[in-house]
């Protein structure tokens, strides 16, 4: 494999891939859009499928053509059914009479005697268009009977001449085929053969309705052709309401049909449609012709009509009565029968249907639009398939390429995310993008319509880029993780698994701890729950007692643990030999206590050893010092003797002076060395006495007066107002101050002031007040050392270690201060050297 690709190339590949995805989506949308066409037809836009097989056929033989034809036949069947309701002799007839009850029940069978009103078509249409008004009237039974007719007018079909069902709407349409009969309520009752119970109810009705009642009354805008109002036809309220609703329904149906009739008549005119139809029906000997071929409207010669249709591009002929069907189209007989059966109220068996299509007509309709569409889309299909294949292949190639190149660098931020999180985010993003794609491209499919196929395809292309980006982002991230072997390493499942495994291992390895902790606890919990659940109140009490015992046990163990903690704290605070009493400790606590005791012993031993070492060191230093002192005594004495000799040579005098100085220095050094080692090993005996600190400091200042004066140093001491007493060993305290003052005398800049304060401090938490003595002076030399270094042996302000001191002064002072339960600290601020001593104030006496 190659060593990866440049960022630029990678980006280029990504862009290529997205473009391929876009192209693919674009073509696919075009392909799918091309497989359906939306054609404007009689009843709005209709979507038709395009069939690959149609490519080898002539349009008039295509499935598309036949689908269009089928839809048109269905529309014509309905159209003619409506025409039959509204027209007489091929044109609209407002005076045509409509038996409202028969009309409303045109799909079913009428009863033998029915109550109806005959209205003219025009009146019904107008009534429906103007709306139906109702009045609410309160009527007493007397008023009711006065309002309603005395008797009911029944209509009855005389002769069921028309084939296709008894008492059908078609029979009612035959003129003079109905008769009316007026019947009194009683008569009706007898005829209808009501049972006794119903009789009883019927006759009692007036009594029940003894009071006035509200009735909804339809305002009679129009009368029947016989001049009746609705209430004139019926004698009771039930029949009245039924008839009213029939009138309203008939009028509204009629009106709807009329609107449809108008648009369809327009659409199917001979000069605006390729479709030709000729339907003739016979009802009770009356022959009605419905056609859009003007020339055939009054053609009596059936042969001629048949020939006319046979000459059209395609035609079909159906006559249910003769059981004959012929066509040169692909429409099947049962299809056409099923269509016409829906409108059986309009089509009796005695009917002949001719339908044809003339594709040579100079019009614009769905047939010709369909021909254009198929001509437009079908030829490019194979090319489209090829291109889709190419784009798909290109897309896949690029995707594989990017997958191969992915992961050469693992280190993007996104790659660090847990695998499941990436998956989750990826799926969410994909879902969002897919949903957006669906809403934009597929859901809006119909709205965008035929003309916007390219727009739609463009949207799909854009959308697919987004989807592809999201897809690649997630996919490549996962692949990079996979290549870096991080897929599993970064997964939450693995972490959870590891945690479970770790806790399992821990449990196994520390069975004692786990069992000792969890088992009793869980047992207690389960026991508690079981007791409470099973034994109710006694269980609660029992559980409470047990819990109390367990609680005190735990408390007891905790208390013992506390003793151990206290023991540890005592050892920490310096009580090294402290041993925890283990006699009443058990189990874990006992082990813990024993361990602590051993640690304490170990510390004790270690401290003793180190103290012994320190003592040995001190002894060594002391002994060596002794051995130095004896010869030093001779040196000092003879140098002194030399000084007394009369030596004229100035050089010799100078040498003697140097010898004198250095021997004196050596003397100081050995003295300080012994003292320092003695103090640091704790090898001194203190006798603490109560002394006046202020007085003491004054005395010290007095002692050092000359030394300070020599260097032009002025001590400025600010004492407390009241005397302050401290417990200290006077001799060693003097040694502390001697060292501090001596230090100041040696190292303070000449002709400066040395400031000293004595300040009592607030009582600490134990109620002990301390007093702080601080001394500040300006150093002669640069202080390039830390305060700690200054108190370390043999370190001095001037690192070069020249001059008078031994470098032990501050160390001695600090050690002595601590030996007397005081504290000493040094701070250095630029050239300001400050030393502070704290001692507890002795408030006694």
């Amino acid at each position: 494999m190659k060593k990866g690709i440049s960022k630029r190339t990678a980006a280029f590949l990504a862009v290529l891939q997205h473009l391929a995805a876009a192209g693919l989506a674009f073509l696919l949308v075009l392909l799918f859009a091309g497989q359906t066409v939306i054609l404007p037809s009689a009843r709005g836009n209709v979507s038709y499928d395009l069939y690959e097989s149609d490519r080898s056929r002539a349009y008039e033989d295509s499935l598309l053509f036949n689908n269009i034809l089928g839809n048109n036949i269905a529309t014509v069947a309905r159209f003619v059914a409506i025409r039959s309701q509204i027209e007489t002799a091929g044109s609209y007839d407002g005076e045509k009479q409509v038996d409202v009850t028969a009309y409303v029940n045109r799909g079913t069978t009428l009863p033998g005697d029915y109550i109806t009103g005959i209205y003219s078509v025009a009146n019904l249409l107008k009534w429906a268009q103007n709306g139906f008004d109702y009045e609410t009237r309160v009527m007493s039974p007397e008023q009711s009977s006065r309002f309603l007719s005395d008797s009911t007018i029944y209509t009855r079909i005389i002769n069921n001449a028309v084939s296709g069902g008894m008492n059908s709407y078609l029979n009612a349409q035959i003129e003079g085929n109905t008769e009316t009969r007026v019947a009194s309520p009683y008569e009706i009752n007898q005829e209808e053969g009501m049972t006794g119970l119903e009789e009883y109810a019927f006759f009692n009705e007036p009594e029940i309705e003894s009071g006035s009642e509200e009735h909804s009354v339809l305002v009679n805008r129009y009368r029947t052709v016989d001049g009746y109002n609705i209430e004139d036809i019926v004698s009771n309220w039930n029949d009245y309401q039924a008839l009213c609703s029939n009138v309203v329904e008939a009028a509204q149906d009629m009106n709807n049909n009329y609107e449809e009739y108008q648009s369809l008549r327009e659409y199917y005119q001979e000069d605006s449609s390729c479709l030709r139809y000729y339907i003739v029906r016979s009802i009770g000997g009356r022959k009605e012709v419905y056609t859009n071929v003007t020339s055939l409207a009054n053609e009596p010669n059936a042969e001629k009509i048949q020939n006319y249709f046979k000459d059209l591009t395609r035609h079909l002929y159906l006559c249910p009565y003769d059981l004959s069907y012929e066509t040169d189209s692909l429409i099947k007989e049962e299809t056409i029968r099923a269509i016409f059966k829906q409108y059986s109220y309009a089509y009796p068996d005695q009917i002949r249907i001719f339908i044809g299509v003339d594709l040579d007509a100079q019009v614009t309709d769905d047939f010709l639009a369909g021909r254009d569409s198929s001509a437009h889309y079908l030829p490019s299909l194979s090319l489209m398939h090829l291109m889709i294949g190419l784009f798909a292949a290109g897309y896949l190639f690029l995707l594989v390429l990017r997958i191969l190149f992915a992961g050469r660098s693992y280190g993007w931020k996104i790659d660090r995310m847990p695998t499941e999180l990436i998956l989750l985010l990826w799926l969410i993003l994909l879902g969002a993008a897919g949903l957006g794609f669906y809403r934009l491209v597929i859901y809006n499919y119909d709205l965008l319509g035929q003309q916007s196929t390219y727009l739609q395809a463009g949207c799909a292309a854009a959308g697919s880029i987004v989807i592809d980006c999201v897809l690649c982002l997630g996919l490549l991230t996962l692949i990079r993780k996979g290549k870096a072997s991080r897929l599993w390493a970064d997964s939450w499942i693995r972490r959870i698994g590891l945690a479970i495994r770790a806790s399992f291992l821990f449990t196994v390895q520390h069975t004692n701890l786990a069992v000792a902790t969890w088992l009793p606890y869980l047992t207690l919990v389960v026991a508690n729950l079981a007791a409470v659940y099973l034994l109710q109140l006694p269980g609660v009490i029992g559980a409470f007692i047990v819990d109390l015992i367990v609680g005190s046990l735990v408390y007891h163990i905790r208390m013992r643990r506390r003793e151990i903690v206290e023991g540890i704290e005592r050892i920490r605070d310096g009580e090294r030999g402290y041993q925890i009493d283990v006699t009443h400790l058990h189990g874990e606590n006992r082990r813990l206590a024993l361990s602590v005791n051993q640690i304490g012993e170990g510390i004790e031993k270690a401290v003793n050893t180190s103290m012994q070492d320190e003592r040995l060191k001190t002894d060594l230093i002391t002994n060596v010092s002794h051995d130095i002192k004896t010869p030093l005594t001779s040196i000092i004495n003879y140098v002194d003797l030399l000084k007394r000799e009369d030596i004229d040579n100035p050089k010799a005098q100078d040498y003697i002076r140097i010898l004198d100085e250095k021997s004196q220095r050596l003397k100081h050094l050995t003295e300080d060395l012994v003292e320092a080692s003695k103090i640091s090993s704790g090898n001194i005996e203190l006798s603490l006495t109560r002394l006046n600190y202020v007085e003491f400091i004054h005395q010290t200042i007095g002692e050092f007066y000359e030394k300070f004066e020599e260097k032009g140093l002025t001590p400025v001491f600010k004492p407390t107002e009241e005397p302050v007493f401290i417990m200290a060993d006077p001799h060693y305290l003097w040694r502390v101050f001697e060292n501090l003052f001596g230090n100041a005398a040696k190292y303070a800049m000449e002709n400066t002031r040395i400031y000293m304060d004595l300040i009592p401090e607030e009582a600490d938490h134990e109620g002990i007040r301390t007093v702080a003595f601080s001394m500040r002076n300006v150093s002669k030399n640069e202080l390039n050392v830390s305060p700690q270094e200054l108190t370390e042996r043999f370190i001095r302000g001037d690192k070069a270690r020249t001059g008078e001191g031994s470098g032990l002064g501050l160390s001695i002072a600090q050690s002595l201060t601590r030996a007397q339960d005081g504290e000493m600290s040094i701070t250095i601020d630029g050239d300001i050297f400050k030393v502070t001593l704290w001692f507890a104030i002795d408030e006694g006496q």
């Binding site: 030093l632 002194d640 004054h698 007066y705 000359e706």
Partner: protein, 237 residues
């Protein structure tokens, strides 16, 4: 001090050079020096007599200074000064306990040694005479220090010392009340007859000046001693 007879001083140290150096200093002051280089030798010399004071080193071959002191004390009560490189307090105490009169740590200042020798001799002589100079109303004595209040003369080991009037008064106060500790405040009020406010240093400085004048080693004063945190005093012997 006019001496008819030369005073004999025994110097014993295993370090010959030290013995020789001490001899030089002591002879300069007119003492007769007997030298010994180990304990037994020293003991023999002392047994012969004619020794008025012994300076002994502690660490010596054959017989060390401590045991030698104990042996000398069996036959003589002459002043014994112990020289030692061991400067620890315990050594000092041990030496003084077994009968030594003074203790000088090595390395020592030769002049201090001579002064100690003189001081010890004077004390021994006074004790031997069993007569101190009469302590009348005008002459006060504390060890080698004497103050004649009539002549306002101060002498240390017979040598006159010049003090300023204030110094004189302070020293007089302390010597007149030997053994008593005076605080700075008390001294001030006694001498200046006014309240000591902010004058504490003055007294301390005067004390220091006095010591510079009358003490051989002001760091370890013999006469005017500091009682730290309390005050100053002159020891009553």
């Amino acid at each position: 001090m006019a001496e008819e007879k030369k005073i004999g001083i025994l110097v014993c140290d295993d370090d010959r050079e030290i013995v020789d150096a001490i001899e030089i200093y002591l002879e300069q002051d007119g003492f007769t020096v007997y030298k010994a280089y180990n304990g037994e030798e020293a003991y023999r010399i002392i047994k012969k007599g004619g020794i008025d004071l012994a300076i002994l080193d502690v660490m010596m071959p054959k017989l060390d200074g401590i045991h030698l002191t104990m042996k000398i004390r069996e036959i003589s009560s002459i002043p014994i000064i112990i020289l030692s490189a061991k400067s620890q307090d315990s050594d000092k105490i041990l030496g003084l306990n077994v009968g030594a009169d003074d203790y000088i740590p090595k390395p020592f200042n030769p002049l201090e040694l001579v002064a100690r020798v003189k001081s010890n001799l004077r004390r021994y002589r006074e004790l031997g005479n069993l007569k101190e100079a009469p302590q009348d109303g005008h002459i006060y004595q504390a060890g080698g220090l004497s103050i004649n209040d009539d002549t306002k003369e101060v002498r240390v080991e017979g040598e006159p010392v010049k003090l300023t009037p204030i110094e004189y008064q302070i020293l007089l106060l302390l010597v007149q009340n030997k053994g008593r500790v005076y605080s700075i405040e008390q001294i001030y009020e006694n001498i200046w007859n006014e309240d000591a406010v902010g004058a504490e240093n003055t007294v301390a400085v005067h004390i220091r000046h006095i010591r510079e004048k009358i003490e051989i080693n002001p760091r370890e004063p013999r006469y005017v001693k500091v009682v730290w945190g309390v005050g100053y005093k002159v020891d009553a012997e």
